[in-house]
């Protein structure tokens, strides 16, 4: 069949950041498939140069608005490892809560506002207002509000947290506030199940596409890993030394992207909710496991579109996990006057790794005289860019016979499934400051 057409989506909608999809087909032959990242580079590494160790978490949180809590935590872990700070058990639990809150907020935003419209066949959530789906939309908003209130309580503010500081928290919630939060979480379980059922009802619209690739994330013996864990790959297993992340995450520059690409055992790998599910599904809490079964999702799933479903599952897991943690904190009697731990060194090297909603995040600092000398950040989404490119190359031939509009939509859905955070991903590097 001789078809000539071009697909040029400039600045894909309903994703964070700026990405372009370019597809040129001439006489039925695919001439060019490209996932471009034209996002303006902000040169964060330059911003970190020479800054006080106390300021690093404020600056890095501004790498991204949605995963600002994640960046702050990774930054703090790196700083604390470098300057030999030991945080208290209470701080660790509160940080687990913070990461749960961020995960919930980001996932429900993505599932509800960014991805679901495609499944409903509309361009955004706005046309859903006033239709039969208004109820579902209101439930999604309710869950989003709960996640934000949780972040507000633990971190002071959901976008660019305030209370997360080196060594602990600048202000700690009271027992009363935590108990109230737990009540809200418990009350929201019913709503969450309803939303999961609504998504299930349109899950048939999810393309059935698979491509075998590697999945990388944190894993742990004790829990579904978010805050702590070891770097693990579906191909090579648990990695022994987190500080040696560079041997797994190999980055390289490509001209069509201001964000670098990354690879390990194959040409590309994927990080994110699906990767975490593939690596940690055994540690899901009971209700989350139920929801996974409801969608028929089992490890290892090679369909990138199922990333969105994994997010629904993680959302449920986060609620259950948070309830558990609050119980722990209340039982241990939370000390709301606890002050952050002091630093025990003026210089050092430290690596901080956490799982943020979109995947595994690494911050690596060298600090001298309490100032940052060397900073290296590996962002989840830039580890996904190569995988998106490879997925497109395999997906397009499978849908080449559809109409141009449908191809465009399918490619956009593919990109959206990854829940990319593109402005984050244009910051990565290896810089030495002399």
């Amino acid at each position: 069949m001789s078809k000539n057409f071009n697909v040029n989506v400039e600045h894909v909608t309903r994703v964070e950041g700026h990405g372009n999809i370019v597809l040129n087909v001439e006489k039925g032959k695919i001439e060019k498939i490209q996932w471009q990242v034209p996002e303006a580079p902000r040169f964060f590494e330059a911003m970190l140069r020479g800054r006080q160790y106390t300021e690093l978490r404020s600056i890095t949180s501004r790498i991204c608005g949605i995963c600002s809590i994640g960046h702050s935590l990774a930054s703090l872990k790196a700083t604390e490892n470098a300057l030999d700070v030991n945080i208290s058990e209470q701080t660790s639990l509160l940080r687990h809560l913070a990461i749960n809150a961020e995960n919930m907020q980001s996932h429900i935003l993505h599932v509800g506002y960014l991805a679901a419209p495609d499944l409903f066949g509309v361009d955004s959530v706005i046309p859903l207002v006033g239709t039969d789906h208004t109820d579902a939309l209101l439930k999604i908003i309710k869950l989003h509000r709960l996640s934000n209130k949780m972040s507000d309580l633990i971190c002071g503010r959901t976008v660019h947290p305030i209370r997360l500081v080196v060594g602990g928290f600048s202000a700690v919630p009271t027992e009363k506030q935590l108990i109230n939060l737990k009540k809200n979480l418990v009350d929201s379980i019913e709503t969450t199940k309803n939303v999961a059922e609504v998504i299930l009802s349109v899950a048939d619209n999810i393309p059935d596409f698979t491509r075998e690739t590697e999945y990388i994330g944190l894993s742990s013996e004790d829990e579904y890993a978010f805050y702590d864990g070891s770097i693990t790959s579906t191909d090579t297993g648990v990695h022994s030394d987190n500080n040696d992340y560079k041997s797994i995450m190999n980055e390289f520059v490509v001209p069509q992207s201001t964000a670098k690409y990354a690879k390990h055992a194959r040409d590309s790998y994927m990080v994110g909710a699906l990767a975490r599910f593939n690596l940690n599904s055994k540690q899901l809490h009971p209700l989350a496991k139920e929801i996974a079964n409801m969608f028929g999702l089992k490890p290892i799933s090679y369909n990138p579109f199922m990333n969105t479903i994994s997010q629904v599952i993680e959302f449920v897991h986060n609620i259950e996990d948070s309830i558990k943690i609050i119980d722990q904190l209340v039982e241990a009697v939370i000390d709301d006057t606890e002050k952050p731990e002091k630093i025990n060194a003026d210089e050092g090297m430290g690596v901080g790794i956490v799982e943020v909603p979109r995947g595994i995040l690494v911050h690596d600092y060298i600090i001298k005289d309490k100032k940052c000398l060397h900073a290296n950040c590996i962002i989840p989404t830039n580890q996904n860019h190569a995988n998106i490119q490879k997925d497109m190359e395999e997906f397009v031939p499978q849908i080449i016979d559809k109409s141009k509009k449908e191809i465009e939509l399918n490619l956009e859905m593919l990109v959206r499934a990854y829940d990319p955070c593109i402005s984050c991903s244009t910051h990565y590097l290896d810089v030495k400051f002399v």
Binding site: H11, T13, R14, V15, E16, G17, V37, P38, E39, A40, P41, R42, F43, E45, A46, M47, R51, Q52, E55, S58, I59, R62, I63, C64, G65, I66, S68, L109, Y113, L114, P117, D123, S124, V125, I126, V129, L138, I141, K142, H144, R145, N148, G156, R157, T158, V159, H160, I162, R163, V165, S170, A171, V253, P255, S257, T258, S423, C424, L429, V431
Partner: protein, 247 residues
């Protein structure tokens, strides 16, 4: 007729737009009083006809400059959203070094010379390229302040942004002054409107809403001495959002 509003973003973290999505149920109120015709982050729909353009992010490259000029020509009112758009914000920290130096540090030897994507100059705030009608300060913006500005624009009145410092709101919240706790807080010279959220949460103000008036140096040094703080730390903190090239 409802005013038509469009959102655009440049070099930013999109946190300010996320704050708008964080209006939760009030988003339904928002779309009842204005027509949101373009909001790339949550909508596929787009229209080039709009009355009010709300811009987040700073200008970094010639291709960004072209885009903002086009937006300015289409909009009657232009609102700068957040510190990056209003005054460059954190993006301006790198202006301490030349654009060439910074690019070399980040991309090393990679071949990016004739690539438009990488062609960056010193960070600029929106009002350094096109005229801005209203400013919404903060990093990120305060949701309540955003609501006040939108309702004011819808009612046809001028939005009231405070011209007084954070101390007013901090004291109204009955906080203990952070200086007493040994921290250096930029609150006394920073614009209010955020309800002193950072000092209320125990973290000193970083001046993300913009410095109101630069106090006399002797006065600052005296204050620093009295509270046992260093000039170096103050200088370092005041660059975070308010970097200005020393003339």
């Amino acid at each position: 007729m409802k005013p038509r509003v469009a959102f655009f973003d440049f070099a930013s973290c999109e946190g300010c737009q996320l704050q708008i999505a964080n209006l939760e149920e009030e988003i339904l109120d928002l779309i009842s009083i204005v027509d949101v015709v373009s909001f790339r982050e949550i909508m596929k729909e787009h229209s080039d006809k709009y009355d009010i353009a709300i811009i987040e992010g700073s200008i970094m490259r010639p291709m960004d400059e072209k885009r903002i000029c086009k937006i300015r020509s289409r909009a009657k009112i232009l609102v700068a959203l957040g510190a990056c758009a209003v005054m460059g914000g954190i993006n301006k920290i790198r202006n301490q070094w030349s654009a060439e130096e910074v690019k070399r540090e980040v991309y090393g030897d990679a071949d990016i010379k004739d690539n438009d994507f990488f062609d960056a100059f010193q960070t600029k705030a929106i009002n350094e390229i096109v005229p801005v009608d209203y400013y919404i300060y903060g990093c990120p913006i305060d949701r309540d302040e955003f609501k006040r500005v939108i309702t004011a624009l819808s009612l046809g009145k001028k939005p009231e942004i405070p011209t007084y410092p954070v101390c007013v709101e901090c004291k109204k919240n009955e906080n203990v002054c952070l200086f007493e706790l040994g921290k250096f807080c930029l609150g006394p010279i920073t614009r209010a409107g955020c309800n002193a959220i950072c000092p209320t949460n125990g973290s000193a103000c970083d001046g993300c809403r913009g410095i109101l008036k630069k106090p006399e140096v002797e006065s600052i040094i005296e204050i620093l001495e009295r509270y046992d703080l260093t000039y170096e730390e103050m200088k370092s903190r005041s660059i975070l959002y308010n970097y200005r090239k020393e003339e």
